[in-house]
Symmetry: C2
Subunit: 161 residues, 2 copies
């Protein structure tokens, strides 16, 4: 089928400049703050966003070039299907993070719990809502076997050092 | 900045063939089943997915051609910034649904709570996990003022008729 073409609507600024030291998920990046600059031509679209305490950011893994359909998750040493993980080695390099939205000023969003690389191109923003997104999960697959301690230690990676 | 090019990794089959009658979110599409066919070349990537009760599907809103930065959500009659809604009139037409995963057979996923159009091109799959995605939301913005009844009636749209 045809190619699908997207263009960045903004850029994400974070303290993470080293790919090897980024926390792997927002839950392992508690308290780390960043900013999103939405490009002027799209800034009308962020109206009403300030009322949400959490938002989804969708972005392009711009530094991930490999595709591996099988990948070792950061949290364990077993190969898993890439779609059963959040690893960036997926065919379409779409990243997603749920971040806390602290404030909106003009076309800048002040966010917390950031786990993406500085300079990441932003593709979309959606509100995280209690009605749609808090799912009562029955099974979390291979992750159910990972203790919170191990998840935390390996999920944060080098960030605290 | 440069264009970002994605290609479908599969296709989503659902009973929804009329754009005007699709439930607006999985929570309003309870019990409606569909299938995802992951293209053969990517099927190795769905290994281990069967262990998750819920997954995120990311897809291209292939029938949405308009961009409106301000849009009336289905649930109310007030214009909202498009990034504070899930409306398809966003600049980058990335759709996301959290669906129940009932079974995996070969490269076909059997899913439930489907709210996307039949024939929708699939871009990515990620596991929904208790550890990463069940966020304790403080505020859901304008949605906090919509009663569950109104949300349900308007969210289902014409589906039951």
């Amino acid at each position: 089928m045809d190619e699908i073409i997207y263009k960045p609507i903004g850029i994400i600024h974070t303290p993470h400049t080293n790919l090897e030291k980024i926390p792997i998920q927002p839950v392992f990046a508690k308290g780390i703050t960043g900013e999103v600059d939405v490009y002027e031509e799209f800034s009308k679209g962020i109206r009403d966003l300030h009322g949400f305490s959490h938002i989804y950011l969708f972005y392009f893994f711009h530094k991930a070039h490999e595709v591996n359909l099988l990948v070792k998750p950061f949290m364990e040493d077993v190969n898993r299907g890439v779609f059963a993980t959040r690893a960036p080695t997926r065919p379409n390099k779409i990243g997603m993070s749920i971040v806390k939205l602290n404030a909106v000023k003009d076309s800048r969003l002040f966010i917390e719990n950031v786990d993406m690389l500085d300079g990441t191109p932003l593709l979309d923003i959606k509100p995280y809502t209690a009605k749609f997104d808090s799912v009562n999960v029955l099974q979390s697959g291979w992750q159910d076997d990972i203790s919170d301690d191990v998840a935390h230690t390996r999920g944060k990676r080098e960030y605290e050092k």
